[in-house]
Symmetry: C2
Subunit: 243 residues, 2 copies
């Protein structure tokens, strides 16, 4: 049973200031799950060269695949491509195929120095198509460098699927119960998890003005075992709600 | 001019799987900004003891303040309190004042072993009030350990304000322009940033079916300088939209 893991690096001061709500992590996680790849860790880091370089290096060593989002536009705070090059000790220069991609969007007279920066690609990287705004992402070894704007980031994933060698898919089931307390279920949950190899169970309470309850989420690679666990969770919920 | 930084550690498998969208980072960042504290980095990590302990240790050393969210409930996957204790090499045990807090919510006969786990607090920690569901958070040195459920996490921040010694507040202004290209503004943006000490300018394009544009966000501690930069950005936008 493979256990293929990805690390996600979300780059941008705006994510840390609370101005912008990241949604790229969830999009990447849901893209990877059916390919048999789990996200092991995500970091949200500032537009700071040293931190970006160090995080890319650490993650490229720790994870099978790494995804970066953000910082590949035309402005002075867009430094991700240079950071990837530095992390892998590669040169970086303007590339003809990336300029060609930009020319699908811009006339030659619009292709000023700032926009040409978007064609600077680390040596040896493979371009990743951007069907929304054309400025390409790129793959350097096991690191995929993608745009930060969610619609653009998502559109680039189509050109990544075939590059991923995943493991066994992790499936999940959710059993939700209203008006039971998490603490009443805790001991039984731990027992159910311990009794089924390869299963993890999470317990997620929810609260609002009207409603209080818990969602139990079981995850496993073996669908038959997961079905057994789902039944056990349903039985547990019934026993707690009818006492 | 102080430069007080916080690190945020978001704990939970459900955040990495894409099942749950984190919103706690933004809430914490917006809480800290008027106190003069910036979030320097955030990590989203799994319910894994070694990773949690190591991340708390690293962040406690790197940042003035650290916030953890998640993993302080009654179930087997709630291991954050033990991890904080281990990170600081402290003992951990059930505490009377934490049991008292739980008794505001639960009858004594509901206080089973699972719920009593929520009263296990690292030695010497100071409790953080939880006005929503009573199970307390706690402060150990510069680390604040909070709940993961957003409404509960947010309610705990009221009991933290007075514990923070912040620096000079960072203010921001946003100038938004429709139908201009980020690449047309890039060179002028870099010049404006370079000409004003202590100012950072971010450029955030947006796209949808109808609309394309850019938001320029300038941030600085000095409001007068920020006002000058805002005018420069407005002038830039006018020059780009009227050519």
């Amino acid at each position: 049973m493979n256990n293929v893991k990805a690390g996600v690096i979300l780059i941008g001061d705006e994510l840390l200031s609370g101005r912008t709500q990241d949604t790229n992590l969830g999009t990447i996680a849901r893209f990877l799950a059916p390919l048999g790849v789990e996200v092991g860790e995500a970091r949200i880091i500032a537009d700071n060269k040293d931190v970006i370089v160090q995080t890319i290096r650490e993650f490229a060593g720790r994870f099978d695949y790494v995804f970066t989002t953000g910082g590949i536009g035309p402005t002075h705070d867009d430094i991700t491509a240079d950071c990837v090059a530095e992390a892998f000790e590669l040169g970086i220069s303007e590339r003809g195929d990336a300029i060609e991609a930009l020319l699908e969007r811009y006339d030659m007279n619009e292709l000023n120095a700032a926009r040409r920066r978007m064609a600077r690609i680390p040596d040896g990287a493979s371009l990743i198509k951007n069907p929304v705004s054309q400025a390409p992402g790129f793959q350097t070894e096991n690191v995929f460098t993608l745009a930060g704007v969610p619609a653009i980031m998502k559109s680039m994933l189509a050109d990544i699927t075939y590059r991923i060698e995943g493991g066994a898919e992790v499936f999940s089931v959710t059993v939700t119960a209203e008006n039971i307390g998490e603490g009443d279920a805790a001991a039984a949950l731990a027992e159910i998890e311990a009794a089924h190899d390869g299963v993890t169970i999470g317990s997620y309470p929810f609260f609002n003005d009207d409603l209080r309850g818990v969602s139990f989420v079981a995850r496993a690679r073996d669908r038959a075992v997961l079905k057994t666990v789902e039944e056990a969770l349903k039985t547990l919920v019934i026993s707690l709600t009818t006492r």
